[in-house]
């Protein structure tokens, strides 16, 4: 009798397990339809079914790759310079007690291999008055923040020139985003392609450093329609009360291949590498 009870319990356990597995599998399948899991709310692409979503995703990724791949997949130095402006975000303090600047220039010199992976780099953050706030060096699988003398390990990495837009769309099934969109228009007479990703949360989420609970995050990238190069990138929060606020904007000032970085950059790299 006791054995029968145990067996019944085991059968029940298995049935419940199988049912849960089927449920999980069903959720997994629905990811292909642009429906996300995790904290993000399900979203249905209004433009059509799974195949049109996949086709649209492929088109965006191909468009971006036509710009990033030739830039990344070659040996030599890559220079990236961006202006970042942030509003409404509390960013905290640097180790020396100064506030982390909300607005700054990020200037990066990266040595890549043919696989696009960065093996050495010098990255500097300048305030908008041109004062260097901090600098770091990546060499020998290690990051060294030379301003604050902090070192931590790191692996060779691939720059995310499109600020993760292509990666987010490619991995949408993992619940990274809940939807995406693409449109074409013109800006100052130049044809542009706008690509947006959306993260809509099932419940408004509290993000440290922002005053209001956020129910949706939209990332919007503007690419030049001809060169496919990224011109700008911005992040907008929609809070529970429907208020939309652009909290971060990036203006791409340069993404270029160069023969060599300036002497000062090479000196800093040598100094840390030795």
């Amino acid at each position: 009798m006791k054995l029968r009870t145990t067996a019944r319990a085991s059968v029940l356990f298995l049935v419940v397990s199988v049912a849960l597995s089927i449920g999980a599998a069903a959720n997994g399948t629905s990811h292909e339809d642009g429906v996300s899991s995790g904290p993000l709310a399900p979203s249905v692409d209004p433009t059509g079914g799974p195949s049109s979503v996949a086709k649209s995703a492929d088109e965006i990724r191909s468009f971006i790759a036509a710009w990033t791949e030739p830039l990344l997949n070659q040996s030599g130095w890559l220079h990236i310079r961006e202006e970042i402006r942030q509003e409404g975000l509390a960013l905290g303090l640097l180790p020396d007690g100064r506030p982390i600047p909300a607005n700054y220039i990020l200037d990066a010199w990266c040595l890549t291999g043919e696989d696009g992976l960065v093996t050495e780099a010098v990255v500097e953050m300048y305030d908008l008055d041109g004062e260097r706030v901090q600098a770091s060096v990546f060499a020998g699988h290690e990051w060294t923040n030379v301003t604050f003398q902090i070192t931590f390990p790191g692996e060779a990495w691939r720059p995310s020139l499109d600020h993760g837009m292509s990666e987010s769309i490619a991995n949408r099934a993992d619940g990274r985003i809940s939807g995406f969109a693409r449109s074409q228009s013109s800006q100052s007479g130049r044809p542009i392609v706008e690509t947006s990703t959306f993260e809509a949360f099932t419940e408004a989420i509290r993000l440290e450093g922002y005053a209001l609970d956020v129910e949706q995050i939209t990332n919007r990238a503007v690419f030049d329609a001809h060169s496919h190069g990224l011109g700008s990138f911005e992040t907008t929060y929609r809070s529970e009360d429907g208020l939309e606020k652009t909290v971060a904007g990036v203006l791409v000032l340069a993404v270029e291949r160069v023969d060599e970085p300036p002497d000062a950059i090479l000196s800093l790299l040598r100094e840390v590498s030795q």
């Binding site: 085991s10 904290p39 960065v118 706030v133 990546f138 931590f152 600020h163 993260e199 440290e208 990332n219």
Partner: protein, 152 residues
């Protein structure tokens, strides 16, 4: 018929037991690092987490607890806890928190969600700080623990 029923029952039991064993030997939770060390009559465990939540958000956490056996101790928590976001070796965000302890209990934990700040290079999230354990009759200890993850 009875023999067949017994074979089915045995199969079901083996499957059920293997599920239980898998539970007991499950790999550590992704994005979490835990270290435990003998302390007084128990083991003091310190844990830090860094997890990607969505494309634009991540989560960092801290947990102090006792185990083997789970024991209520006088003071448990952390003396400081800092969450930091790096963009290619430069600091783009820092959340430094002071001490937080509970008394006469066996677990104290906290976690927060953060935005991923603009970065076209590579981003890393850090959760770090000293934990705080004190059991009556034993030395007060403040073991350090840190954990990091690449933020995609």
């Amino acid at each position: 018929m009875r023999a067949l029923r017994l074979i089915v029952l045995a199969g079901v039991l083996v499957l059920a037991l293997s599920a239980v064993v898998r539970e007991a030997t499950a790999s550590p939770q992704l994005g979490t690092s835990t270290s435990c060390a003998a302390y007084g009559t128990t083991n003091a465990c310190r844990s830090k987490t860094v997890q990607n939540v969505s494309s634009s958000t991540w989560n960092a956490g801290v947990r102090s607890y006792t185990t083997n056996p789970v024991t209520n101790i006088g003071v448990i928590g952390w003396s400081w806890w800092t969450v930091r976001e790096w963009c290619s070796g430069v600091i783009t965000y820092e959340d430094a928190r002071g001490p937080s302890v509970l008394t006469n209990t066996n677990t104290h934990q906290n976690s927060f969600n953060y935005t991923k700040h603009s970065c076209s290079l590579t981003r890393t999230g850090y959760s770090m700080g000293n934990h705080d354990f004190h059991q009556s009759g034993y030395t007060h200890i403040y073991p350090y623990k840190e954990y990091s993850e690449v933020l995609w």
